[in-house]
Structure formats: structure tokens, C-alpha cells
């Protein structure tokens, strides 16, 4: 259950970038290699932002699929489970192309 502390970190970043302006929504990107559950994150967002300037803002979670590139055969594979291995030759000598993201992408400010 680290979604709650991740929400607090998101809120810190969002408030810093909002510079006092009212925030309507915060967009985050979460890679599939991160053990963060998007629905739990959204649920925790309400708890973490209650009684803060971000209360009532929406959290938009973009789930980024895990993709690896094989160092042997060069094929890129989108993974169904977070075990990095090549979908064609089965090699585990792969490079993670995406899926490790955990970032605040943007803020949507409210019209005042």
C-alpha cells in the first residue's frame, strides 16, 4: 500500500508547479513495471488531497505498457506480465524500452 505515499509525492510536485493556481486535474504516467495499481492510486488521491488546495482535483492515470527489446534478435515485445523476456526467442537478455515510468506528466489548471 504505497499508493498513499505516492499520492502525497504527486501532490507535492503538483503544488510546486501550480504556483498557487487552482488545479483541475493532475496527469501522471505509471509504467507496468511499477507495482502501482492505477485504481488504488485514484482512490488514494481523494484521501491524500482532502483538506489541501488540491481537494476535488482529478487524478488522470496513464498506464504505460511494459515493452522490452531483445539484445539477441532485436524484436520488441509488449509484456503481459512484468517478467522481462523476449516474446520471440525467449531470451532474458533484453533492454527495457518502456514501463518504468513514474512521473507527473502535466497539470490542468482551472479557469479562475
Amino acid at each position: 500500500m504505497h499508493e498513499l505515499s505516492i499520492c502525497r509525492s504527486i501532490a507535492e510536485v503538483a503544488l510546486r508547479y501550480a504556483e498557487g493556481r487552482p488545479v483541475g486535474a493532475v496527469a501522471v504516467r505509471v509504467g507496468a513495471f511499477r507495482q502501482v495499481v492505477p485504481t488504488t492510486l485514484v482512490h488514494c488521491w481523494e484521501l491524500a488531497t482532502a483538506t489541501t488546495p488540491l481537494e476535488g482535483s482529478a487524478l488522470l492515470v496513464e498506464a504505460v505498457p511494459a515493452v522490452v527489446a531483445c539484445r539477441g534478435c532485436g524484436v520488441k515485445t509488449q509484456l503481459a506480465e512484468p517478467v522481462p523476456c523476449c516474446g520471440r526467442c525467449g531470451s532474458v537478455d533484453v533492454l527495457i524500452v518502456q514501463g518504468e515510468e513514474l512521473l507527473v506528466a502535466s497539470l490542468e489548471l482551472q479557469e479562475v
Partner: protein, 253 residues
């Protein structure tokens, strides 16, 4: 569609006003991509933690102390293993322990009197009791240790296979304790943790003969998620593997 919903593109969110759409497009939020009110951030969510972890790492480097972040699920035997390790190296080497525990000082009490400086990091001050240590908690607990007088600090993280793997503490190395009673499939279920570490201590190896545990299958699963990891077969009870573990903990001299 309710306040809490999933879009076809995989995004999930609530809308503050309870409506589904405030921008153009049918739930794909293309409207968020442009528009004057959108502020680009692209900032790592854990950047604040990472910044604090770097400050910790700088302090460790200045004091020339090696810091090992030791993680495991609850009950894998971290504290018992640590007590056995301290029994071997606690007097001859200058060792400190940062003990992460959600509510109690029970684990820290068990390590008392073994020659090490022990500092308790009680995580209950967090948001209802944290399931992991973060760099800030470690930083505040470091005040209780005299780093200059230490060669090795072992951070005993909160027992949990998910959360601790996400939070850098500024450590020199990450290791985990895994018990053979946990089942062979754990590396595939918790790949973030098993991929994050340099060392897996396969603990309670003395129980092997009583279990239907397939060690080779476990090692194959581990290899699938972390091909370069080192493993030490150990038992805090019989002492197997403990000398090797002590050498690894003390690190390159």
C-alpha cells in the same frame, strides 16, 4: 459511467465535478494535450525522495560507510539473520543498524547488546503507518547513529515485497532475504523487488528437507527476472552461509 471509471485507452480517473467530459473527444482526453491551461511537468513522482536519497548517499560517502538496504517479506527471518550476523561481526567491526518497524521496537530490542549501534525508525508517524522506509525517514534516523564511527550500516526495511523496492534510501547496495517457505514463484510475482537487489539470501535452508520446495525452480525463476543476482544459501539456525553473508555485507575493503 460513474465518477470513477476506466477508458478504453487504459486511463483511470475521477472527475472532480462528477462529469465524464469537460474537453473535446470521447473520453480520450485529447483535449488535455493542448490548450493554454495545461502545464507540462514531466517530473519523477519520487524526485523528492530521490533528492533526499542523494543527500544520504553523500553523507555515507563522506563518512566512508557502506550501507546495505535489507528487504524481505514479513517473517523471512531478517532480524534473526541480522542477530546471527552481529554475533559474528558486531564486536570486530563497527556496525550500525537502522531498524524499520511500523509500530514497535520489538526487532530493535532483539538486536540490543550485540555490539552494534541500533537506531529505530518507527514508521507509524507516516500516513497511518508506512509499509516501507523512505529517504526522509532514514535521514532523520541517521541523527541517532555516529556515522564517522561506523564501517557498515544495515538498514532493516519494513517487511514487504512491494513498496520498499520503489524507494531509494541512498544505500550502497540493496539485498533481500527470501525464505524457502515462501514458494518458488515469488520472483515472478514480485519482479520489481527481485530485480532491484544485488544479493538474495535464500534463508531457512535447513528446512529444505521438510518442504516440497523446488530450489532449482526458484533459482530459475530468480534468474528469469534478475540474471546477474548473487545468491547465498543460508540458515540463521545452523550458521550455513553466514560467513559468506558477513563477507558480502562488509563489502570490498
Amino acid at each position: 459511467m460513474g465518477r470513477f471509471h476506466t477508458h478504453a485507452d487504459g486511463t483511470v480517473h475521477t472527475h472532480a465535478d462528477g462529469t465524464v467530459q469537460r474537453n473535446a473527444g470521447v473520453g480520450d482526453h485529447s483535449g488535455y494535450q493542448t490548450g493554454p491551461l495545461r502545464v507540462e511537468v514531466l517530473k519523477s513522482i519520487l524526485s523528492e525522495n530521490d533528492r533526499m536519497a542523494e543527500a544520504n548517499a553523500a553523507d555515507f560517502a563522506r563518512s566512508a560507510v557502506r550501507v546495505v538496504n535489507l528487504m524481505s517479506s514479513p517473517g523471512a527471518g531478517k532480524t534473526t539473520l541480522l542477530a546471527a550476523v552481529l554475533g559474528r561481526i558486531g564486536e570486530a567491526h563497527r556496525v550500525g543498524v537502522l531498524e524499520g518497524d511500523i509500530e514497535t521496537s520489538l526487532d530493535a530490542d532483539r538486536l540490543d547488546g550485540l555490539g552494534a549501534q541500533v537506531a529505530l525508525v518507527n514508521t507509524s508517524a507516516g500516513f497511518g503507518g508506512e509499509c516501507h522506509l523512505d529517504a526522509t525517514m532514514v535521514r532523520s534516523a541517521l541523527r541517532c547513529l555516529d556515522l564517522e564511527a561506523l564501517d557498515l550500516v544495515i538498514i532493516e526495511n519494513v517487511g514487504n515485497l512491494v513498496c520498499p523496492a520503489e524507494f531509494a534510501l541512498g544505500e550502497t547496495a540493496k539485498a533481500m532475504v527470501y525464505a524457502v517457505t515462501e514458494g518458488e514463484e515469488k520472483p515472478r510475482k514480485y519482479p520489481v523487488m527481485f530485480r532491484a537487489v544485488e544479493l538474495v539470501v535464500v534463508n531457512k535452508i535447513d528446512l529444505l528437507e521438510h518442504l516440497e520446495f523446488d530450489l532449482d525452480l526458484f533459482l530459475a525463476n530468480l534468474d528469469a527476472v534478475n540474471p546477474s543476482v548473487r545468491t547465498i544459501l543460508a540458515s540463521a539456525k545452523t550458521g550455513e552461509g553466514l560467513d559468506e553473508l558477513c563477507r558480502w555485507l562488509l563489502g570490498p575493503r
